[in-house]
Point group: D2
Chain length 384, copies 4
């Protein structure tokens, strides 16, 4: 369905040519200072037409808060956020509408629903992610204000070009990187040299009337320990779910990820030391900030794979819905590579995942805190 | 929480030293022929002590159907499945119990719950997966019987050793591989040469008192088109969620995955042709059987990364819960590499994911089918 | 939270003075013909200012379909419905704003959220029900079109005045009553004599600057057998949940209800006879169309109690939020009795409940239908 | 489905003749002292064979904790509770098995599932409520220990005999009544005179080979203010859902209930006064402890209607599944009136409802408490 989260719950609506797109967010903590501008910032980072690297379509994507706020504060009631579509009419059918676009959602939607939306992708349109980004901004507002959580995503690969750096270099970057630094380049890669080559690659694709894939890496700092549910709703499982729900994604890895499978356990394990504040920290972070499905207070980081956009500006040999072979003519304007604009979407889904886990854990912790203390050894403390 | 799925819903229970482990499955279609033996087969593939590659602990893991069946048929009511634990008593606390094991769930569980289960991992124990495998076998029974769905997972990497083959070779394997072939080698790798080297690698780890990671690839054939929900519950998002909920997993990729990010759109797109049965098929399958979050009827395949087990048979420098540096002495018996035993767990989670999506889609399709037909162009058909 | 239903899922948003109120409906079957007018009809029956019996506030409550439809058909994607608020600004605080209104939600909302919305009731405003009525109209459209379901609610009591008729007389009415007949009187009671007295009673309340309660009876004809889930989600349990979620409700009874507790089992049981179409029907209907939590195909009927509105046009002795005794001055305009306007709300919640149960059951039935048949005796048929 | 609750989540399993019945409880706060005896007390109050008023079947219904506890404390992980069935075999089919019992669930289950369980009621058996009562005892343990919540249900009506007392008399009883007092009479009515007549009525039914209905009233004292969700999950809506999910229930009313519909608003409103502890209380309680769907800290009370049991010890004219008229012969042993044994079931469902609402609200309140304070007027305080 179109709902994400259990305690902080976002339901999006809207497709490419309807009146508006947006979402309802239920479960927002009451008493949070919130303005439309808090939300607009990320929508503006997501919108098309930002640079020569993205589609030339230009939509302002201005958000309106319909409900759930008064006098600049959230009421704890559902917040409906809407963004008007500029192109609000379903198109008349044209020849190309009878071709399901290869590797797009046209054919599978028809299999699922038995009904075909007009040209433009309908619900599979990237415009659906507007509701996600808007809701993510609200979650982030709370996380930043109360826990100092910092969520920063950046482009780590475009086509065959990958950002340099692994091990210590990567961890130094993860510890410091900010959105301001990420936004210094159009391609949103904090490694200037790699970024320049990525930009060239995207421009080359554009000239070839082709598209290319890429990867986005995301780091979350200051996420409290204890978030995530054992078993099915492990924090990394929810993050994977969140990321693979973004259009065009093909993979997810957390911490050491696929490369970590090649290490020995003695190398991969993250030893504990006292953190000087009465708790523990780890001296390395192959775990990526999550152990046994639960955040351990260390930096969370993960990487997401995006395929090359299915819509390309060249003709394609394929079949109509009716099974007749033919040529799908190129049309429309598209992003040759989605990763620069995917950055705020990844951040939004990460924020939504953490906020939901936080609310659930706060309920458990507050409920437990009212009980009498358990014997010392049940808390890992050697009884004297 | 401990529940997976919405329409086919599995709730697992149990930890390492309680009386029993198992699950309740709600939403099983009524009238399905089902015996304990149908379930036992996969539990036996999962159980420890199967070979020299796995932990020498030997538990029979015999399943009992507590409810939901009569005269060999399911009633449509909840099926409770239980497996007795052989070691049913929490241990007395010993010195090592006051060390959270590095990269295990001990410390994060204490952060989350404020209570520490006795030695053995508690709920993060691999014994929790028994309930999943049992439930998965029930889902598979239906999927195989009604749709001929075939789900086969196999080991595709152990430490640095990866199974050969990409492209055509891989697709030929995915089209044919069976569980019987997978089980021919202890390591469960269908590539005999690579499998032999993987086995050596695992034995080497074992002798080093160390552990290693690996990858499992899974293929699903004959999954009907139309499964998966747009937006947040895309089929690949649910698969990613399911796989990352398995202990020790670090990554997931579907279809072309991370490698696919390096292709051009024109290479990556899967063109359509008529399938000869009134529908369409694709001539390539970079999509991995899912487009726009919805199955397209092609073979679904994905790969899952498992980290090296955190429990190793050598001493480790780390800290106690109380923050005192010290040496955690090696103890217990463990798997030097989990991937051979992870194979049926991956299959189970895949089956649960597809079965849940099928029930949801069957509800929508049956409900839609009772409506009057829509105009031809809304079905992608050019009106005459 | 603000979501109702699992497969047909409605999320409402909005409070009294925000920009708009409305809902997102997820799970609408694709291919349903749907226009704004289909929805407006019930909103118009619900809106204030319809007659001298209701509040003189006059709002048009015009609905706009934001998404999920194209060319007059539903797409199967989320439908967002919005209604603009005419009074879109939170008020300045006045003296009376520091009194929680007795038996209203002001004080409990503050306990819950720690934040007080401005005057007007915020989320507890009756305007929240606009989203429900709009969504209910969509559910009804399907139910009527495909199953011929007829849902009719009417006023059966106002203050001490109850509609005459029980037993055979009631059942004759339930078999025939239509919305057109209900709407013949302002008070929406199909018993003309009782209705006239109810109207007098409401006018008397209005002149006394007071309010009164009442009851609404609802009948659903042609609901298919097999809907409702055993155990926790029995159809009557979901109906009770739905009805008690309407503001100002205090009770629910189905079929024979509280009076049925006084009968002997031999009187209360509904014997079966062949229905002439290969199934069974019952010769009486004390069950109210539901047995064991599952619809049996007979007429479903139930009754809902509404308390007198808490807002009255006379001064009340009470305390401020700060605990100071004082007089809450009368202000504003209100309905002296909510039941006439509650009629379409009861119908809407009934439609939402049945539609959700239908989608779930359709999924199960379609999934089961693909299995091989079970032995005759498992279907209640004596084997020969 | 068979799950109740969102944050404190109970899933029951089992039918009349399977191996065992029971439940999994997920979301139990960790660190709660819990023993099997804590649970057994209520199961023993529920079990058959307690007195001459109940069925002579005698089952011990001894509960075993399978998981989720160690050293006498809950771990926060799922608790599986099981009770062995003494009669573990489905019966051979006999003549009477081909008659769906009037007003029982036999026919509707067959409509729903297409499969008929063997004699005994299958999943609609009262044995399903064992899991509820066991889970309710766990919820109650927490509520009593931390908040001093007292939940006491009692029989307030049997057939035409209703307990005396309304208004002040009733409220005095609700303020004081204990389970010990309730259990002083076999019929569990705290009004000795009425109780004696109720007992005679039940014995008369038994001798007539007939059955009778009744009502159960339940009071909850010391429930914290702020529980329950606006809109769809109002606390009274969840209570109504919970109560109507108990087999044989036909009605629910909270606070003033159906009688309250006859009052004027000025009589029905509950004025506020300072409670002497910095908050407010109400001087009357027509609201039944809930306003706007949210608990206000006053005593919660409600009444539940139970129909006469469908199973009676006399022959009944009815039809077979195949539609042939015939006589269903009396058989088996049954309760002539369920209300005495329903008392702990009502208490259990009430406890589950409140515990779930508490966990959700604790999450919200703890999350809000970390934000900076809002301006005074947003908290209902006149700014100076």
């Amino acid at each position: 369905m179109s709902t994400f989260g259990s305690a902080f719950r976002v339901t999006t609506y809207g497709e490419s040519h309807c009146k508006s797109v947006g979402c309802i967010i239920d479960g927002v903590p009451p008493g949070l200072a919130l303005s439309e501008q808090d939300i607009q910032v990320q929508l503006t980072r997501r919108r098309p037409g930002q640079s020569k690297l993205t589609t030339p379509r230009n939509e302002q994507d201005s958000v309106a808060i319909q409900s759930g706020c008064e006098f600049g504060y959230t009421l704890g009631t559902p917040i409906c956020l809407t963004v008007q579509n500029q192109d609000q009419r379903p198109h008349d059918y044209s020849e190309t509408d009878f071709f399901p676009r290869p590797s797009h959602a046209d054919w599978t939607y028809l299999q699922k629903y038995g009904v075909k939306a007009s040209s433009g992708g309908g619900r599979s349109s990237a415009r659906e992610t507007i509701g996600r980004v808007a809701a993510g901004a609200v979650a982030e507002k709370y996380l930043a204000e109360v826990h100092g959580v910092e969520i920063v995503a950046f482009v780590s690969g475009v086509g065959p070009i990958e950002m340099a750096g692994d091990g210590a270099e990567l961890h130094a970057l993860l510890a410091e990187i900010t959105r301001a630094e990420v936004d210094k380049t159009l391609v949103r890669c904090p490694d200037a040299a790699a970024g320049a080559r990525m930009q060239d690659e995207i421009m080359a694709c554009s000239q070839e009337k082709n598209s290319t894939g890429g990867t986005v890496t995301c780091v979350m700092r200051n996420v409290p320990a204890g978030l995530g549910e054992p078993c099915f709703d492990k924090l990394e499982a929810k993050l994977a779910h969140a990321m693979l729900s973004i259009p065009a994604t093909k993979g997810f890895e957390i911490g050491s990820g696929f490369r970590g499978t090649q290490l020995r356990g003695s190398e991969h394990n993250d030893p504990f030391v006292a953190d000087g504040r009465g708790g523990l920290r780890t001296t390395s972070n192959h775990s990526g900030g999550i152990q046994g499905g639960i955040s351990n207070g260390e930096t969370i980081y993960f990487r997401v794979a995006f395929k090359p956009p299915a819509t390309i500006s060249q003709d394609q040999q394929t079949a109509t819905y009716a099974g007749e072979d033919g040529t799908l003519a190129a049309r429309g304007r598209h992003d040759p590579c989605v990763v620069p604009r995917a950055v705020p979407i990844v951040e939004a889904m990460a924020a939504l995942t953490v906020m939901d886990a936080l609310l659930v854990q706060n309920g458990r912790a507050a409920t437990r805190a009212r009980l009498a203390p358990v014997p010392a050894e049940l808390k890992g403390i050697k009884p004297v």
